[in-house]
Amino acid sequence: MTTFQPVLLEAVGVAGSHTLASYRSRGGYAPLERMLKEKQPADVIELVKSSGLRGRGGAGFPTGLKWTFLPKDHPGPIYLCINADESEPGTFNNRILMEDDPHQVIEGIILSAYATRATTAYLYLRYEYPLCWDRLQGAIDEAYAAGLLGKNIQGSGFSLELYLHRGAAAYICGEETGLIESLEGKRAWPRIKPPFPAIEGLFRKPTVVNNIETMACVAQIARRGVEWFRSIGVPSDPNNPRDPGSYGPKLYCLSGHVERPGCYEAPLGITARQLIDGQGGGVWKGRKAKAVIPGGISMGLMTEAELDTPLDFAGPGKVGCLGLGTAAVVVIDETVSIVDFLHNSCRFFAHESCGQCTPCREGTAWSLRMLERIRAGKGRLKDLDLLAEIGNTMGMMPGSTICGLADGAAWPIKNAIKKFRGEFEDYIKRTNPSGWMVTDPVPALQIVGAH
């Protein structure tokens, strides 16, 4: 195989890459203009559907299929929401796309709006990305001036308004119905589904919510074609008719204890070890990895022995992780206490639980209180069973919460206890020599506030 050439990231590091002139010089917007002239919306849906593109936001749902859930012949309006609330710890690929190549994203948005017949698109951007805001607003202004946004785009009769909407530092706004509620001016409490957003979403109208990288992929599929896209990645498993495969290039965010942290584009299916040793230059300081997060902290942990797992949509699940998630790979070296890691993870989810569902609100706070107590030298072996029980009972998968935040909180707990139980037991016995075996209830150390 020849060396993989970045496509989504081709403009990174190029001077002025965020401008319309630069994007045009790379062939940008020509595919859009051709599609608007020659193709019907249904053709664009078919194009994306046949490419096998799966959403890049974390869940991996097939994008074209999601679009087909919209009601046929709806009088409108239909809304397109672009999820740029990228907040999963370890994840920054959307930031790079918005900062360095915002027009690639905007071309994908216009194509997706055309396909779904949306006439208004809101780009929900997390507060913490001020440079993205400026770059996107600049690019949107350029696109309006060039007749690529607004009324009757390029004489096609298709109109689209694209607005930026600023978040306010809440992780849950990345959940698609939490995002919708937040956009509507309410607290970002995820909605009970059904109805799914495609039927009743933003302002109670049919709505599609797509991720930034997904939009960039749509632009590239329009430019380079379905065959190009399907020539990259991992084909669907012929023995599993429900496997949609893992096609296309993917942005992997590599951070933590590696020599060269960064966002790297690679074919879906690269292994964690290839990514860390190749693009990442290996684990830093010549050390070994103790654990690696495969795709954002919600996805759980892989051990050193599991690093040859391919990072496609089906890969991490084979070693007990939740999935590929955002493909944010975080390397934790052998000097780190797994107790400290799990404490950091539990603190994040206790802070970010929206508080709507009891198992998540209480489970995330309880697990944090236990980790605080264990780190204070008052842990008991029984705590590990309790933590495992919390991990097994909160979330959409056990069916006790509305959204997946609790599953994301549960996976690091479950994986850490299962794969590193010995280290937890040693830690507890060492730090609490007189009380590790106690099983009586104990008071918590301090109250933890929910988000």
Binding site: P89, G90, E128, A168, A169, G185, C253, L254, I297
Partner: protein, 168 residues
């Protein structure tokens, strides 16, 4: 004679109204309006919540309900002239983010979420800032501080506290 001092200036109201055509109802202006007020005042006092509610045709409780969810808009007193968020999530923590947070707070003489007595600087812990390639990192105002060290953290506190305006 009692004169009622409005918190929302005509300029703020104009900025909010300029966004109104973007949304099919006025409630969706809640978050943009709160950001506009917070950008101007560095906090959103209760009186401003009432005025935003009046402007948008909502009950004050509806605006307060939304505002209180995000834990982003201070209500009691303004943030410091520089508001800094120091990342403590996993990728930064692995590279010393928590120590940087302690160090910045110590250098500024405040606890996390505190504001220096001169009103120059507020320091808050943050969850992932999405700049893990530059861990440990911090967002201060609109500036991302990358690959922080003890030295660069101290220099930041020094600069933020140098007299550039009247304390609030």
């Amino acid at each position: 004679m009692i004169t009622t001092q409005r918190i929302l200036t005509p300029e703020m109201v104009a900025q909010i109204e300029a966004l109104a055509p973007r949304y099919p109802n006025r409630r969706a202006l809640t978050l943009p309006a709160l950001h506009i007020v917070n950008d101007c005042l560095r906090y959103v006092p209760f009186e401003a919540v009432v005025e935003v509610a009046q402007l948008l045709g909502l009950a004050p409780a509806e605006v307060q309900d939304t505002l209180s969810f995000y834990e982003f808009f201070p209500q009691d007193k303004p943030s410091g002239r520089t508001r800094a968020w120091v990342c403590r999530s996993v990728s930064c923590a692995l590279r010393g983010g928590e120590e940087i947070l302690d160090h910045i707070c110590h250098a500024a003489g405040i606890d996390p979420y505190g504001t220096t007595t001169d009103g120059a600087l507020t320091v808050e812990p943050a969850e992932c800032l999405g700049a893990c390639d530059f861990a440990p990192c911090m967002l201060a105002g609109k500036t991302l501080y990358k690959n922080l060290t003890k030295e660069s953290a101290e220099a930041f506190v020094r600069d933020a506290r140098s007299p550039v305006g009247t304390p609030s």
